[in-house]
Amino acid sequence: MNRRAAILLGVLLAALLVLPVIANDYLLSVVILILFFAFSGQAWNVMMGFAGQLSLGHSLYVGVGAYAAAAIYVHYGIGPWAGIWLAMLVCVLLGSVIGFLAFRFGISGVYFALLTIAFAEFTRIGFDHLDWVGGSGGFFLPVVRRDVNDLLNLRGSPVMFYYVALALAGGAFAFCAWLLRSRVGYYWQAIREDQDAAQSLGINTFRYKMFAIAISSAMTGVSGVFFAFYYNNLFPEQIFHISRSIELILGPIIGGLGTLFGPVLGAVVLTLLAESITEVMSVLGLEIPGVKQVFYGLCLLVVVMFLPNGIWPTLARRLGLEREGGRGGHG
C-alpha cells in the first residue's frame, strides 16, 4: 500500500486503541460487533476472495468453534485460551473433510456451495438433539461479574472484550496481509483466476485449496469462540442457521472480495446501517421485525448490480489510497 494508505491505517489504529476512553458501553458494543464481523469476514475472504471457493456454510465453523470451547469450559472448567486450540483443530478437521470430499470428487462452484450448506444444516439439526450441549434449548455460559476482568476465562467488562476483539481483527488483518504477499497468496490468486493455468505453472491446486480451507475454517472457529464467551448463550437454530452464513459473507462481498480492507469496510457499513435503522425505528416508535434484513438485502442487491467488486476498490481509487501504478488483486 502507498504512504497515504499507511498513514490512514496508522491513524485508524491509534483511534481504535484509545476509543474505550471516550466511548460509552453502547458505542463499544457496536464497535465490537464491527470488529467481530471484520474478523469473521476476513476469515471467509481467505477462502473465497483469495482461493475462489464459495462457501455458504461457514456458520458451521462459527458454531462448532463456539460449542467446542463453551462445552469444555462449562463441563470441565477449561478456559477459552485452551478452548481456542480445540476449536481450531475441530474446525480444520471438518473443513478438511469437506474440502477433501469436494475436490477429490470434483465438486466446485454452485455444487460446492450447496455441499457446504448441506453440512451446516445437517450439523444444525444435529446439535438441536445434542443434549450434552443443551440441544435446542440452548447452551449457557455462567456469567459472573462484569466489573472484574478475568482475561484467562474471558469474563469481564465490555472494555476487555473490546480489546480482545480488536486484537483478533487486527491480527487477522495483519496475518492476511502477510499471506497475500507471500508465495501462498500468489498461488491462491492464480488458482482463483484460472486453475488450469495455475496447474501448468506447477501449482498443486488441491493442496493450496485445502490450505485455504484450513486457514479459513480455523479463523472462523476462533470467531466462534469469541462469540460464545461474549454472548454467553448458544442456540443451534441461531448459530448454525444459513442466515448467519449469509450475514458472515455480506461484509466481504459488499466491502470488496479478495481485498484486505473489503471485509473491514463491509463490516463497518453494515453494522452502522443496522444500528441506524434500529435508532430510526425506536425514534419512530416502531417495532417491525425484518426491516434490517430488508436493508441488508437491498444493500447487497445494489452492490452486486453496480459495484461487483465491492465498495473498497472504487473508494480506494477515489481517495488515492491505491498503490501508484495500480496493481490488481492486492490491497
Binding site: M48, L54, L56, L101, F105, G106, I107, G109, V110, Y111, A113, L114, L115, I117, A118, F119, E121, F122, I125, G126, D128, H129, S136, I242, S243, I246, I253, I288, P289, G290, V291, K292, Q293, V294, Y296, G297, L298, L300, L301, V304, M305, P308
Partner: protein
C-alpha cells in the same frame, strides 16, 4: 407398528413428495435452461403461499382454484425478474449470480416478515380433515388433490416442452445457447419465459402446500434448500427426475419422522444430498454434462 400405519405414512409421504416435486420441477427448469441458481426459489413459493392465504381470507377462494390466478401472476413476475434483473448476470461469475438471488431472497422473506409478522397463518377448508379410504389405507384429501395438481401441471409442462414450438425453442436454448442465437431464437425472451414457467410451477406448488402446513415467512430458505436437494438427487434438467426426487424426499421425511425423531427428518435429506453430490452428482435421472 401396524402395517396400515406404515402404509399410510408412506402414502402421505409420496403424495406430499409429489408437491415438493412440482416445486423442484420449477427449479430444474430454471437451472437447466437459464443455468442460474435460483436461490430465491423457496422464498418465491412462500410469497405464493401468502398470496393464497390472502385470497382465501378475502374471498374464501379455495387454494386449488387460487392456483390459477396466482400462477399467472407469478409467471409474469418471474418473466420480469429474469428479463429485468437476472439477465445481465448470465455472463457474470457464478458467485455474482448467486448473491443476486440471495439478495432477492432476503428482501422477499423479510418484506413478508414486515408485512405479515412472524406468526403463522393458514387456511381452513373442509376437506383438509377428510380422507379417501381404500380399505384400511387412507389418502388425505388435501394431499391427494395436491398430488394430482402436481402431476397434472407436470404433465402439462412435459407436453409443452415436447410438442410446442416455444417449448422446443426453450430446449434448444438449454442444449446450445450459441446455436440457438445463431438460428435466430430470441434467447433473452425465451429465458424470461422459462423463468416465468418455473415461477408458475412454484406458485402452484405453494398453493397446494398451504393446505398442508402453516405459513410463516421463515419457511422460504428451508424450501429453497429442499428444492435443491430434490433437484440434485433427482437429476438436473430432468423433469421426471425432479418428481422422482420429490417423492423420494417426501418418503424419506415421512419415514424418518415415523421411525426417528420428527424434527430430525431434514437431516436425512441433507445426508442424501451430500451422498448424491459426492457419488452421483448427475442425480438419478440427470445427464452428465
Amino acid at each position: 407398528m401396524p402395517p396400515e400405519l406404515i402404509a399410510n405414512v408412506i402414502i402421505a409421504g409420496v403424495l406430499t413428495g409429489l408437491v415438493y416435486g412440482l416445486m423442484a420441477v420449477g427449479l430444474s427448469v430454471i437451472f437447466g435452461v437459464v443455468r442460474v441458481v435460483n436461490f430465491a426459489h423457496g422464498e418465491m413459493m412462500t410469497v405464493a403461499m401468502y398470496a393464497t392465504v390472502m385470497l382465501f381470507a378475502a374471498w374464501k377462494l379455495d387454494p386449488m382454484l387460487a392456483a390459477v390466478p396466482v400462477a399467472i401472476a407469478f409467471f409474469g413476475f418471474g418473466y420480469v425478474l429474469q428479463a429485468g434483473l437476472v439477465n445481465p448476470f448470465i455472463t457474470r461469475p457464478e458467485h455474482s449470480q448467486f448473491m443476486l438471488l440471495v439478495a432477492v431472497a432476503m428482501i422477499m422473506v423479510n418484506a413478508l416478515l414486515m408485512v405479515f409478522g412472524p406468526d403463522a397463518l393458514n387456511v381452513q377448508v373442509d376437506y383438509q380433515l377428510e380422507s379417501f379410504a381404500i380399505g384400511p389405507i387412507l389418502f388425505d384429501k388435501a394431499r391427494a388433490y395436491g398430488a394430482s395438481a402436481a402431476l397434472a401441471t407436470s404433465a402439462l409442462l412435459f407436453a409443452f416442452f415436447k410438442f410446442s414450438r416455444t417449448g422446443k425453442a426453450i430446449r434448444a436454448c438449454a442444449d446450445n445457447n450459441l446455436g440457438a442465437k445463431v438460428v435466430g431464437l430470441d434467447v433473452k425472451h425465451l429465458y424470461a419465459l422459462t423463468f416465468g414457467i418455473g415461477a408458475a410451477c412454484v406458485a402452484v406448488a405453494g398453493c397446494m402446500i398451504v393446505l398442508l402446513v402453516d405459513v410463516t415467512p421463515v419457511l422460504g430458505p428451508s424450501y429453497t434448500l429442499l428444492a435443491f436437494v430434490i433437484v440434485i438427487v433427482g437429476g438436473l434438467g430432468s423433469m421426471p427426475g425432479a418428481l422422482l426426487g420429490g417423492v423420494l424426499i417426501g418418503l424419506s421425511e415421512a419415514l424418518a419422522g415415523l421411525f426417528f425423531n420428527p424434527s430430525a427428518k431434514s437431516m436425512f435429506s441433507f445426508a442424501l444430498l451430500i451422498l448424491v453430490l459426492l457419488f452421483r452428482p448427475q442425480g438419478l435421472l440427470g445427464r452428465r454434462s
